[in-house]
């Protein structure tokens, strides 16, 4: 159990390049914080600074209020799961998990070690593999062993360095769920580095978005999604990503290459300092085939005609692509943004989400409806989000915090209930799982 405080952390390499530049983050006790960003943004470096594998050039790092800048990794009592697992190949799974315990000489008796290792193995379903060597395990099993080594000792916090990036997609989803449940059950402070935004959105209580060593925004996933502070965060979070369309303000409408869009009331008051040309941030799901929109909803947005170049049907949904003529004034800025986001370039196209049963096909022209209530307007030069509502954003993060507390509470109650039951009746694991589900749903009600 620990709170981790980073104050103005800086990491400069010998050549003067600041990999991490003035980052301050408070990680609350029991919180699951995600560090996310494109490659080279300094997220892994920051994690290594926290665990002690990288020196801190300046700034303060404290764990539970104690400054640990100059402490060795072994004295910080953190455990870490490496991207490549870093299992000890000459040791069996059992010994791999027991390794941290054996290092703290004299602290644990042989029985204690055995009990703890078996407990961890139980949690991670590794019981059948304890005597095997890492070389004979599958990717998912190795991942579990690495996790076992992290949870076996009572570390103050878990650090994960892209732990799932080496697994195939299916296994990744499964392990993601397991990590989430494990963290909730143990209620232990966790720092998790990833470049995968699905992981960021699903696992994190809060997500810190980094760009070139600088913190862009730290907030709950919902706040990041709905109230991004700037172009970078808006473009990074969400898949398919937000559409950025150049627009000129013309009375009460935005004049854009795809058609005129009425300026919603919410936005109007915030355009006083706006430059002549702005970027509209429109998420694909704010669009819809006009035929599928409820009559009553239509007035909340704008309907316009669009020519589709092609559509993609995915079963549960459909994406349509609309090309337009890019405005030379913003081309440069958009290219820069694409580079920052690790993309090859930002094509002049709008991705819209359509109902799966929509008959719009490539080459056709159709009416589409845009729900403009939640649009964002960005200043193309500074990248700043002109329409961000900080209060609404903070409210979203506060809600997320509360939900997390309740969730941990529920998980604990469930655990203790299971322990009681196991104590009285000695239920089988399967029985426990059933009970587990029942308690969870009743608590949710």
């Amino acid at each position: 159990m620990a709170a981790i405080t980073m104050e103005h952390l800086v990491k400069k390499y010998d050549d003067g390049f600041p990999a991490v530049n003035d980052i301050s983050i408070d990680v609350a006790d029991g919180e699951f914080l995600i560090l996310v960003g494109p490659s080279g943004c300094g997220k892994s470096t920051l994690l290594r600074m926290v665990v002690g594998l990288e020196d801190i050039t300046s700034g303060d790092l404290s764990i539970n209020g104690v400054r640990v800048n100059d402490k060795q990794p072994r004295d910080r009592n953190l455990s870490m799961v490496f991207q490549n697992y870093a299992l000890y190949p000459h040791l069996s799974v059992y010994e791999n998990i027991a390794f941290p315990l054996r290092l703290s000489k004299g602290q644990f008796s042989e029985e204690e070690i055995d009990r703890k290792v078996r407990e961890a193995a139980d949690t991670l379903d590794l019981n059948e593999h304890l005597e095997r060597k890492p070389a004979n395990l599958s990717g998912g099993q190795r991942q579990r062993v690495a996790m076992g080594r992290a949870i076996v000792r009572d570390a103050d916090a878990f650090l994960f360095d892209e732990p799932l990036s080496n697994l195939d997609a299916k296994l990744r989803g499964q392990m993601r769920t397991e990590i989430a449940q494990l963290q909730r059950r143990m209620g232990i402070t966790s720092l998790y580095v990833t470049h995968d935004q699905t992981e960021a959105m699903t696992l994190g209580d809060r997500v810190a978005v980094l760009k070139r060593g600088q913190l862009q925004q730290i907030a709950s996933p919902r706040e990041l999604y709905e109230q991004p502070v700037n172009l970078f965060v808006a473009g990074f979070i969400g898949a398919p990503s937000m559409n950025f369309i150049p627009a000129r303000v013309n009375g009460s409408v935005f004049h854009t290459p795809i058609g005129d869009i009425e300026i919603p009331e919410r936005v109007q008051g915030k355009l006083t300092n706006a430059p002549e040309i702005v970027l509209l941030g429109l998420r694909p799901e704010r669009f819809e085939d006009a035929k599928f929109v409820d009559e009553t909803k239509i007035p909340h947005g704008t309907v316009f005609d669009s020519g589709f170049t092609h559509t993609e049907w995915l079963g549960n949904q459909q994406y349509g692509y609309i090309h337009y003529q890019q405005d030379a004034a913003v081309q440069h800025k958009l290219n820069e943004l694409a580079q920052e986001l690790d993309a090859d370039g930002m094509p002049a196209q709008v991705v819209v989400s359509l109902d799966a049963s929509s008959r719009i096909r490539g080459g056709s022209t159709a009416k589409i409806w845009l729900d403009s209530r939640k649009m964002h307007v960005f200043n193309p030069e500074t990248g700043e989000n002109l329409t961000r509502d900080a209060e609404a954003g903070a409210e979203l993060t506060r809600e997320a915090n509360e939900e997390r507390k309740n969730e941990i509470e529920r998980a604990r109650r469930r655990d203790s209930a299971r322990a009681d039951q196991a104590g009285t009746a000695g239920t089988s694991p399967a029985g426990g799982a059933e009970h587990d589900g029942g308690a969870g749903s009743s608590a949710a009600r």
């Binding site: 594998l53 455990s79 697992y85 390794f99 941290p100 290092l103």
Partner: protein
């Protein structure tokens, strides 16, 4: 898969190489079983297999020359191998893992030392050793042998250490290990194949040395086998000692073969498999 033609080709080449490499050994083996009158017979296989040559070096008149030399060779080679490997392991670990000033100098110096011609050093060393009292002692040979075995050990081991993923050190440190514990419990076990390979190479270098052996010794106190062989004489001055020398040569080959066989199991590749992904 190889085609039949390729298979035949490879077989022919392999046999040619084997014959080229093993024929001299076989020839020496045959000579060692020849009686002295048989030496100049011009035949490959002895007309009669005799063990008199072996008797001569183990219990006969060459005994006092050969047995102490064998003992010296084994002792000196083992000690210099051991010292070289221990020092080289520490040195190579530092070179592979740490960033310290003078790292390049250590490596280039090691390379230069190993390239320095032995013959040019042996005479000055002979004078120096006589004055400091190291002449004709074990230590007097171990030190120059270290100058031969250390550089190559450092270079070989550094290459092995560099193959071990850094994250293993880091993981061990996060798990609570000191640098020394990480080295001893994680890195050394993983480098064992490299350590054994290096040990064998170092042992060969020390075992095969002739120049230092003959230049820095004068008696059975420290003279190693390669030097001792030069002092073998026939039963009379008209008799060549080729038989006894061959027998001794066969005997000194045995430890080397045993060493390789013993360590062969340790030199398994792919020991680090499964440590990291990709």
């Amino acid at each position: 898969m190889l085609s039949t033609k390729q298979k035949i080709g490879w077989t022919v080449i392999s046999i040619a190489v084997l014959v080229y490499a093993l024929f001299p050994v076989l020839s020496i083996l045959m000579t060692s079983f020849k009686s002295s009158s048989d030496l100049n017979s011009g035949k490959f296989i002895p007309t009669k297999f005799v063990t008199s040559n072996y008797e001569q070096i183990f219990v006969g008149e060459a005994k006092d020359l050969f047995l102490p030399a064998l003992w010296n060779s084994i002792g000196i080679s083992l000690i210099s191998t051991f010292v070289a490997v221990v020092l080289a392991t520490l040195c190579a670990y530092a070179i592979a893992r740490l960033d310290f000033p003078g790292k390049k100098i250590v490596l280039t110096t090691a390379l230069m030392v190993s390239m320095f011609p032995v013959v040019s050093i042996v005479t000055p060393l002979f004078n120096l050793w006589r004055q400091v009292g190291l002449y004709d002692t074990w230590l007097g040979l171990i030190i120059p042998y270290l100058s031969l075995t250390l550089p190559i050990s450092i270079w070989t081991l550094a290459a092995f250490f560099q193959q071990i993923p850094w994250d293993l050190d880091r993981a061990a440190q996060v798990d609570g290990a000191t640098t020394w514990q990480a080295f001893r419990k994680v890195i050394v076990p993983l480098t064992l194949p490299g350590v054994f390979t290096t040990a064998i190479i170092a042992f060969f270098i020390a075992w095969n040395d002739f120049v230092y052996g003959i230049g820095l010794t004068s008696t059975a106190a420290a003279r190693p086998v390669p030097a001792a062989l030069a002092f073998f004489t026939g039963a009379s001055q008209f008799e060549a000692p080729a038989g006894a020398i061959s027998a001794a040569a066969i005997i000194v080959t045995i430890p080397v073969v045993l060493l390789v066989l013993a360590f062969q199991r340790q030199i398994v590749s792919g020991l680090t498999q499964g440590a990291v992904k990709g």
